[in-house]
Symmetry: C2
Subunit: 415 residues, 2 copies
């Protein structure tokens, strides 16, 4: 997937020559062997090095990011510059290189020092920004199909995830990259999902509570708690803040033929749709669908509604979320009449591909396995099964949100 999409106007970014009037220049052979220059036409400090392109930093950005103790609170890693007195027209009087530092004296007498490496990491060159974002913000995703599923599926031992930061990191990176991974050899206890979630951060609570127990229940207000087929879906599309990752811990698997899980990487299907049936793709990205859930859990009534397309793109045209749920799609469909048939046609195409053998895999969890997958990206389902007196299928689930997972990945990466 194209990394440059995370950047805005990537095409307009560059380091082409500007008509710089060299006003004050203190060349120096410090450890990074370069020189600093003020460019008054462009209001930038230009750092010239022998072995790389020039680095250009606007005066206003430099002043805004002064790292002195009056402007930046080290303990909280936070900018403390007063908004009221900040002058967006601040200009340096003098810039010089002192060892690895760029030293600026501003016209009002304020002094700022910047490490060269610190500045380099914040370069406005598009390739630097791309590489920073894909290593620190979002790792690149890789799509998979039924054919490649076995190759991309990773497995980690529960006890290893709990005791090793490296294994924890690898599991989370698998989840971020492929949207699915298995944690195995987990203890047959009701607290296992919580332990795993708390190794990352904490269980994401919803109106169904924290852990949820998936077992056939009579008189349920949720179709997941039936032993019938559970069609492919994403969980809780009726939440604006839809839970990020599903952790499904298999305590007891059915002895009958059924009970397998179904999984499709709907990102792969959406990519195919975009290429081969673009008008259908457009209908699914532009038609806003009402998702809802009406019911109660332990006496707490809820009525959730979220309106969003089946395929949600972010501002860069990247797919940021898939909403898919036959039971939780509202009968209220607030679109103009002339869009209705087009949407159903597009949805039919998408749905058939999502369910096809090309994209959909069947996986029957063994007892002690925790199937973990991205609920923003994958659709999942379950084949019907028959409980017998001795084997009552029992799965305990819990959610993690991506905000917390990304945070944990970054912390572990920096260890």
């Amino acid at each position: 997937r194209k990394v440059s999409r995370y950047l805005q106007w990537a095409q307009s970014s560059g380091t082409g020559p500007l008509d710089c009037r060299r006003t004050l220049c203190f060349g120096s052979l410090g450890a990074w062997a370069g020189e600093a220059e003020l460019c008054k036409e462009s209001d930038e400090v230009v750092l010239r090095t022998k072995d790389a392109d020039d680095l250009r930093f606007p005066f206003v950005w430099l002043r805004d990011n002064c790292q002195c103790s009056a402007c930046f609170h080290q303990d909280s890693q936070s900018r403390t510059i007063d908004l009221e007195s900040f002058d967006i027209n601040s200009k340096p009087k003098l810039v010089k290189v002192v060892g690895n530092k760029i030293h600026i004296t501003w016209l009002d007498g304020h002094i700022s020092d910047y490490d060269f490496e610190w500045l380099k990491e914040r370069s406005f060159q598009s390739h630097s920004q791309e590489s920073w974002l894909t290593s620190m913000y979002r790792l690149p995703r890789k799509t998979w199909t039924a054919q490649s599923f076995n190759k991309i599926l990773t497995r980690y031992k529960f006890s290893d995830v709990l005791k090793s930061d490296a294994v924890l990191y690898n599991w989370l990176v698998s989840l971020a990259t492929y949207g699915v991974s298995i944690v195995e050899d987990a203890p047959a206890e009701s607290t296992t999902v919580r332990q795993l979630a708390e190794r990352v951060a904490f269980i994401r609570r919803t109106h169904y509570g924290e852990e949820f127990s998936v077992r056939a229940k009579p008189g349920t207000t949720n179709v997941a708690y039936l032993s019938a087929n559970l069609q492919l879906h994403t969980d809780l599309p009726y939440y604006n803040y839809k839970p990020g990752v599903n952790l499904l811990h298999c305590l007891v698997q059915t002895e009958s033929d059924g009970g397998s899980n179904l999984l499709t990487d709907s990102l792969a299907v959406a990519d195919w749709l975009k290429t081969d049936f673009n008008s259908s793709y457009q209908a699914l990205t532009q038609t806003v669908v009402d998702w809802n859930d009406i019911g109660q859990e332990d006496g707490n009534y809820f009525h959730s509604i979220h309106r969003a397309p089946v395929i949600c793109e972010d501002r860069f045209g990247e797919i940021e979320r898939i909403n898919f749920s036959q039971p939780q799609r509202d009968s209220h469909f607030n679109v103009p009449l002339d869009k209705v048939k087009l949407w159903y046609k597009a949805m039919d195409k998408f749905t058939k591909a999502i369910m096809s053998n090309d994209y959909c895999v069947t996986y029957k969890m063994a007892e002690g396995e925790i199937l973990t997958f991205d609920n923003i990206r994958l659709v999942h389902g379950r084949k019907k099964y028959d409980d017998s007196g001795n084997s009552i299928r029992h799965v305990i689930g819990g959610y993690l949100d991506w905000d917390e997972i990304w945070s944990r990945i970054r912390v572990l990466k920096n260890v």
Copy 2:
């Protein structure tokens, strides 16, 4: 604010005449005194009534929303139609009116019955959709300025919110409409915020935990825990799932002059900017800013990043979120060089208005008050203060998410 923005292609929706071939029509004088007709050109059922426009429902939508027990699971209020066998080309053989019901026999023999009132609520007429959405999905927001603040500020007694559903509803509607409200006469206990949150749903957890205690702390990793000025900001802009509503319970107020809260309805400021300085508005809606938080809480390390503009618009051009925080704005600014100065200029204009006496109000909480406000929409701050030995300012905070608040509003509305 324009309600029609919540609808897509509102302009293309209509009920204009179509060249309908009347194929099967069973007029009837049921309780709603109308007739049903199949329109094969448009694949729609048309309901004609004397006193209103025709209601048109596409065949595919009707089949998809059959309410019989094979197609719809009443207990869970969920569609159960099998995706695999669903035929988007389903056609009725016959439609007739029986009392208040529209009865359809499909070509494959399946039978569907729909209440007229149920259908009417799901009309594809744009005015019906608008009125349904503004009463059920999102209530209209009303902006305020410093001048109108006292008029829009509502107060509810803590004990009334806890015991009366009507008061709970009114408080939440105030929050949704104006983004701010005060709950007063609350007990001076550390569990008060939790009680209030659990009256709605549950406290939204973040990497700072559930309740947070705002008191001057030495060596803090968050600038909120200093007694210095806390500049206007939204909380946690570095979360994709940014907490929705802030509940700040004043246990002890400082006896010194400071400690007042500052509040601005940044939706009002953004509206002004859009009208009077549109290019600045565009810069703030289109330039993606990096928000971050690096630190630890009780030994749990975090490194959060979220990338989003200061003013975030939804797909209908409505403002859905404001991000504003001097301390939590990252020094990494991943935009092309030529956008940097423009953004700072626009930000300067927005910031000065946000801090101005036209928009910003000062409110010093009394002990026992809970200041509740929309963290997606308002910015808040705090004036510096001096703790004396006997009065250590102490505020306990907690968050609620809008998914849960809207759900509670809908449930209460239907009671």
